[in-house]
């Protein structure tokens, strides 16, 4: 356990000490017995980011609802704290008990974005645990990982002991059940890993082998022993309405990214945007019933006192009873001054009156994500939104008193031309014109249009997974084009770092050879890579150089349909044939309709039951 005196001295020297103290409302405090299985939920980013993650709150409370499991939290200490910890020989500890992670049974990472991988290595090291699985001893914790990036786990092979593919609620408990038996038996580490390899959704990489072709592509991927599955099928919760949802969540002391009650209204998405990984891997759509949601909201507000409820999902307005739900929530919480926020709202399908009603409690800006600047390109990516939708919604919104608009786009989408890029500017200017075309007396506030572009990263399990990413030079050319053509004090232009997106593409579509690069980069000091000032592209390039790995092979290469992709052994339910077909349709600019209006044959209903299809 931490030495309290020494700990307090350090807290006095670091920025935002409240990140490291625990003690928040609604944490779980438990007595530890011989039978307790200790699980550290590890989030490889700072407290404020990690605490905003709904999945953590769900799993934390689920595990702690079992008497013999104690789940605690650990986040990546910011660099000042890490420095103090290393200087004073303080190992990474869990927030609740202040016990060292080294003494836990599991250290479970959630993989939310690729650029957090170096933080994972850093946290394992800071915990005093060997960073390579093969070096770990019997009494070391098992390092496990899940979350969206685990759908291509290969870059972390060798570091993570095993992965959980898909939704973790049930499978985590199954893993722990087997752990209890294994611990009693006093067996070897390997025996445990062999035992869990047969659980659906569990991937134990050391049981698998990869052969490569001369050109570096994969020749074969297979289990070394035929008794292990050749395909790892993702796990899903069949009935979301009966699935565990916490009735209390931890209330952070300091401001976090999403500091509010998050109600998960459904999982999955039926829109079929072709760049979107979440839209494929989280299929099929499963909704929570309105009664369940209202009940959850009631309990959570009572337990937290939060001033805001947000409805969380991939596309909020697609919830089948969204209007009723929103109206009921507004009705119930108006007097308590609890606001409602609806992120990822598609304004094309949501009546403005309701939005106005929501904004009576707390007024925020409007957000649109047309993703691409021209209709042609929006058709390529199957975004569905038309210009008319956007202009109509903005016009209405300006008419009812809004004046801040955010517009999100991607650059580098397949088939994009410079005309498409300029389309982004044109769109923003049109929005501006709409505002000033209104009679002066009707305009309220000061118009502010913010245009943000991110760089397209082709992700596994999307119809664009075979596609080469734009080069950094090309991205920068497009960014500069926008920078020099958006010259209006009402319109602000923001863009992402193209070099980061490049690395993201490398890691997202990487294979197991990349773990050497990760370790090299970490050894050179890479961590918090997504935090602008901490990011060093040069160090990453050195790491590639020194390991003899060509990043372009992963980011900038077009793959053929018959190439074995590093993540092909994972079964997400949506067939490869469907993805190929979608990619071909994209090239022709053909749309695929929302499958709520009729099945488009993605294949998920063949191997997975549950959900709406």
């Amino acid at each position: 356990m931490l030495d309290k005196g020494q700990f307090e001295k350090i807290l006095n020297r670091v920025e935002k000490p409240a990140r490291y103290i625990g003690k928040e409302q609604n944490i779980s405090l438990k007595d530890i017995t011989e039978d307790t299985v200790r699980f550290a939920f590890a989030f490889p980013d700072v407290y404020e980011v990690g605490m905003s993650h709904l999945g953590m709150h769900i799993l934390y409370n689920l595990l702690n609802s079992k008497d013999d499991i104690y789940c605690e939290r650990v986040f990546a200490p910011w660099t000042d704290m890490e420095e103090e910890m290393r200087k004073n020989n303080i190992l990474l500890y869990a927030l609740e008990s202040k016990d060292f992670i080294k003494d836990f049974d599991f250290m479970g990472f959630t993989l939310q974005y690729e650029m957090s991988y170096t933080n994972i290595i850093n946290m394992i090291d800071l915990a005093g645990i060997s960073i390579m699985s093969k070096d770990r001893k019997n009494d070391d914790p098992f390092i496990i990982a899940g979350g969206p990036c685990a759908y291509n786990p290969e870059p972390l092979v060798g570091i993570v002991d095993f992965f959980v593919i898909g939704e973790g609620e049930e499978v985590t408990l199954e893993i722990i059940e087997i752990y209890k038996k294994w611990r009693k038996s006093g067996g070897e580490r390997k025996e445990y890993l062999e035992a869990i390899a047969s659980i659906e959704g569990v991937y134990v990489p050391e049981l698998y082998n990869v052969d490569y072709n001369e050109d570096g592509t994969i020749k074969a991927f297979y289990p070394m022993d035929a008794k292990h599955p050749t395909k790892i099928k993702k796990r899903i919760i069949k009935n979301l309405d009966e699935a565990f949802f916490p009735d209390k969540i931890i209330v952070p002391f300091i401001e976090t990214v999403h500091d509010r009650v998050m109600l998960e209204i459904f999982r999955g998405c039926t829109r079929g945007c072709r760049f979107c990984q979440a839209g494929i891997i989280y299929r099929p759509v499963r909704e929570r019933s309105m009664d369940t949601l209202l009940e959850s909201a009631r309990k959570l507000i009572e337990a937290t006192g939060h001033e805001e409820i947000s409805l969380s999902s991939l596309s909020t307005s697609d919830y089948s009873q969204i209007l009723e739900l929103v109206n009921k929530l507004i009705e119930e919480y108006k007097d308590k001054k609890v606001g409602l926020s609806l992120p990822s709202l598609r304004l094309d399908s949501f009546p403005l009156e309701v939005i106005e009603e929501i904004q009576k409690v707390r007024k925020t800006g409007l957000t649109f994500a047309p993703e691409a600047g021209t209709q042609r390109l929006r058709d390529v990516i199957n975004k569905g939104i038309t210009e008319k939708d956007l202009f109509k919604s903005t016009e209405e919104a300006f008419g009812s008193g809004w004046s801040t608009v955010k517009l999100y786009f991607m650059i580098g989408l397949p088939t994009e031309t410079f005309d498409d890029v300029m389309g982004i500017k044109d769109l923003a200017y049109r929005v501006k014109d709409i505002f000033f075309k209104m009679p002066r007396e009707q305009r309220k506030g000061n118009l502010k249009v913010t245009v943000s572009t991110s760089c397209f990263v082709p992700k596994p399990f999307t119809p664009f997974q075979w596609y080469p990413q734009d080069s950094i030079e090309m991205f920068n050319k497009k960014i500069n084009l926008l920078k020099s053509s958006i010259k209006d004090n009402k319109v602000t232009y923001n863009h992402h770092d193209s070099r980061l997106s490049y690395l993201e593409a490398v890691l997202a579509r990487g294979d197991r050879r990349l773990s050497d690069v990760l370790i090299k980069a970490w050894k050179k000091g890479c961590k918090f890579d997504s935090w602008g000032d901490k990011f060093s592209f040069e160090k990453w390039l050195e790491a590639f150089e020194e390991t003899g790995i060509d990043p372009d092979f992963y980011a900038s290469r077009e793959r053929s349909y018959d190439e074995i992709l590093p993540w092909d052994f994972i079964d997400v339910g949506v067939s490869k044939k469907y993805l190929i077909n979608e990619n071909e349709k994209a090239k022709k600019g053909e749309l695929t309709k929302d499958c709520r209006k009729g099945c488009t044959g993605c294949g998920i209903n063949k191997s997975f039951t549950g959900g709406v299809c």
Partner: protein
């Protein structure tokens, strides 16, 4: 209707900033079903104010707040309901109705603190006392403050001798020295205990071990008819 309450900020909660503490209360009010009055407008805020801010790492036994109520609730009930839902370390000690027109923020004049530390070299109580005596006998104690305004840094110097009402040795045991001090606090003049420590380092021979420093607020005082008295 206004309730004035006294509360503590102890243990690890001392690492929570003033703004964060406001939010802790805001949420505690909702959990405890306290009928706090809200402001009008786009972003309604609960009407309550905390007396003064504490620096991160400073604990306290004597914090105060004013809370405007929408509907009647007994102060005793206010206290009990909140204490159930507040995190460990924050405790409402006392709550009363107040008909003060002035807010607690504008009334505070003095604060007492405990300053505890160990020294790099051994010192006797006599030595400490004589150091403090000569410290206090100075007519000028100059505090240098840097103010950043954008990129410009301006340095301001103030003679703050008058803002120290008292400072004396409370105990000197097991190599730990404990001082007690009363300092001017509030809009009419303010001195923080950490600033007193800065001054001690500058004007005395006491070699304070930086790492061992512990600051604790004991109480806040308002001034009534020229005399200091407790806020409630």
């Amino acid at each position: 209707m206004k309730i004035r309450a006294k509360f503590t900020k102890q243990e690890y909660i001392k690492y929570i900033s003033h703004l964060d503490l406001m939010r802790v209360f805001q949420r505690a009010f909702r959990r405890a079903n306290i009928p706090v009055k809200y402001s009008e407008g786009f972003n309604p805020h609960p009407q309550f104010s905390l007396a003064t801010a504490l620096a991160l790492g400073v604990s306290s036994d004597g914090e105060y707040m004013d809370v405007e109520l929408d509907t009647y609730i007994e102060p005793e009930e206010f206290k009990q309901r909140l204490n159930i839902v507040l995190p460990n370390g924050i405790k409402i000690l006392k709550a009363v109705f107040s008909d003060d027109k002035d807010s607690i923020v504008s009334l505070i004049r003095w604060a007492t603190y405990i300053i505890g530390f160990s020294t790099k070299e051994k010192v006797t109580p006599e030595e400490i006392t004589s150091e403090i005596d000569s410290f206090l006998s100075r007519e000028e104690l100059i505090l240098t403050k840097e103010k950043k305004k954008g990129k410009k840094v301006t340095v301001k110097q103030h003679n703050v001798r008058e803002r120290i009402k008292e400072l004396f040795l409370l105990s000197n045991e097991n190599d730990t020295i404990i001082l007690k001090t009363t300092l001017m606090t509030g809009s009419q003049g303010n001195l923080k205990p950490e600033e007193v420590v800065e001054l001690l380092k500058e004007y005395t021979e006491i070699k304070i071990e930086e790492d061992s420093l512990k600051l604790h607020r004991l109480e806040l005082f308002v001034e009534k008819d020229g005399a200091a008295s407790l806020p409630i």
